[in-house]
Amino acid sequence: MRGIKISAQKGRIIILAVFLLVLVLMYLQHKFGLRVIGLIEAGLYSTTLLTFVAVGECINEKAGVINIGLEGILTLSAIVGTYGAEVFENGVAGLLIGMLTGASIGFLLGILATYGMADQVIAGLAINLFAIGFGPYLLMALWHIAGIHVLSRELMLPRMATPLGYISPLTVVAIVIAILAQLFLDKTLYGLRIKVAGEKPEAVDVAGIRVDRLRIFTSTLGGALCGLGGAYLPLCWFGSLVKEVSAGRGFIALSCVVFGGLEPVLAFLAATIFGFAEGFGYWISITPGIKEIVPVYFIHMTPYIITLIVVTSVIGKKRFPKALGRPYIRE
């Protein structure tokens, strides 16, 4: 793939890191009886979600629209998706409705960013603030409970038994989507247009292509993938719904985008790092021998701390589109 170049030195570092990780895991397994399969399961669940959200946002930011409302879209589509699944009594329908929810919010942001010339950061912030209020309101209005809403087992999507443990079929879908998105951006004419719209919108405009429509399209697409991720949370992963269902994952996905430098496949790699950080913390918290020593609150912190460290270590080496976050004004 043209967009990604990994030097020999970087390759060696990656191999070394993986080797060290395996050693640490083997030690933990030996010392505390950590179930490695369980760790992989937990890690992949988180990775899948982050991949959906990050890949969509990569394409969106390539076109010059930044959406920091991902967190809010996750919350709202999780709730609406669950409700849809219960109405249609079908988990897949719930996923599609979640996608539709996300797509419509993304479409709205696209309209605001192009025709409304909105400050994209404030508009995204508004989506988050809206979700903080409207999410719990919906939860209460739909199910009349303030705490946790548990889904019935039939609505949950089935899991596949593989050598790596029970894995959601959507994990495979997420990996395929990441690769397809990379090919779409690097190999197709439409992908090229999207990239130019983010770098030099005038050039696309001169070529007779509508920048506004392109950006609304990518924003909708990004929203749809984020919405799919949101519906995936209760329907494939947790099996339940609370008002803090997204727990900062929208912003962790934004970190994946930064880490990947807007390349979907690299963003997927970042998602595995952050996903396994979360899976690791989750797994530690139920492993006897460790859970008594480390306070659970510190384990809950790990994904956020690791995100901060990893983003800090790569930042400055990445280039972002020139027109990112700026409305395009035709002259």
Partner: protein, 360 residues
């Protein structure tokens, strides 16, 4: 010489911008109207009567003097966080970490107010200052990461909020919990409590601190050299660089000032709000103080005086929505959804122009 004349020119330029004061006001009113309309749709969609709902909401928020005073008590912390966000937004920094900084401020206040024995006035001052300092301390990592590596504060502050959330819960449960009622921390000693102003509402003297903070921020931003540099860096970074303003200094100052404010808001929620005088271990009484402050600042058009007005409106909504929930069964969370819509409308600068063109 050249630098002096540039700054004179820039000062004139900024005055021209600020002369258009009425328009933001109109925009805010328009946004609030749209927000309320959207809210009525949300009410009607779930089978509630919007007119009754709004009547109870506004009656509960602004119906009589004691309700207005109670709304002011709700507005007290978000006036402060609103003004704090104003500083950061005016200087071009998005400090979304007010939330986490407020948690730290609250736990700091609990520590000083609950464990030390000091003379009355000194005790209040010590607890307040310590809470503010902890808030500022928690804003430093994001500032340093931005200055040192250029990490976007939008990501780093949110991560720090979650870290602060778990850290504060840990401190509250493991170190400062009340042995008799484990769902809350130890209470502030009577010598560290802001005095109640009226017997019928929970409003305390903290409101004066909040208003003074706003006025202070207004004075700092518009009547000092530092404030001018902050605003210049926020409106036109290139011009600021040319005029010799150090962007790193601006980032650091704006983070520290807004962190101090967020810490103050957390402190006020603990030692300025009866009847708890403590922090609940689920952080129930400081949750959303930071995010609500962002809404308040955006509604108040990033002006400290605008923040006071919009915080009063928001406080009324929060106060009235409790009554709305108990009387008509419309869940109180609707208030925050309304605010979200209002902010979204405010984010569209072109909307007013489009409407004006249509009207012509």
């Amino acid at each position: 010489m050249l630098r002096d004349s540039t700054s004179v020119l820039l000062a004139r330029y900024m005055k021209v911008i600020e002369a258009r004061r009425i328009e933001p006001l109109l925009e805010s009113f328009f946004a609030i109207t749209v927000g309320l309309l959207a809210g009525s749709i949300f009410m009607a969609a779930f089978g509630y009567n919007p007119i009754l709902g709004y009547f109870v909401l506004f009656n509960g928020g602004f119906g009589d003097l004691s309700k207005i005073l109670e709304s002011l008590a709700y507005a007290m912390p978000i006036i402060i966080t609103g003004a704090s966000f104003t500083i950061s937004a005016r200087s071009g920094v998005f400090n979304l970490g007010l939330e986490g900084q407020a948690y730290l401020g609250a736990i700091g206040a609990v520590y000083i107010a609950g464990t030390f024995h000091l003379p009355p006035v000194i005790h209040i001052a010590a607890a307040t200052v310590f809470g503010m300092l902890l808030g500022a301390l928690w804003s430093l990592p994001a500032a340093i990461l931005k200055i040192w590596k250029g990490v976007s504060e939008i990501i780093s502050t949110i991560m720090l909020n979650w870290i602060a959330y778990y850290l504060t819960i840990y401190i509250a449960i493991d170190l400062l919990a009340d042995p008799e009622t484990p769902h809350k921390t130890i209470s502030a000693l009577p010598s560290a409590r802001y005095i109640r102003l009226t017997p019928r509402s929970t409003l305390t003297a903290g409101i004066f601190i909040a208003l003074a903070f706003c006025v202070l921020i207004y004075f700092l931003l518009w009547h000092t050299a530092v404030g001018f540099e902050l605003r210049l860096a926020g409106t036109n970074p290139d011009a600021a660089l040319y005029a010799g303003v150090d962007p790193k200094k601006v980032t650091l100052i704006s983070f520290i000032l807004s962190g101090l404010g967020a810490g103050l808001a957390g402190t006020i929620q603990v030692i300025g709000r009866p009847p708890g005088w403590c922090l609940y271990t689920n952080l129930g009484n400081v949750l959303m103080v930071g995010y609500d402050g962002i809404s308040v600042a955006l509604m108040g058009r990033n002006h400290p005086i605008g923040c006071i007005v919009s915080a009063f409106f928001y406080g009324g909504l929060l106060n009235g929505s409790r009554l709305m929930e108990s009387r008509v069964g419309i869940y109180s969370e609707l208030a925050r959804a309304l605010i979200g819509i209002i902010i979204m409308i405010i984010a569209i600068p072109e909307l007013m122009n489009i409407i004006k063109r249509r009207l012509k």
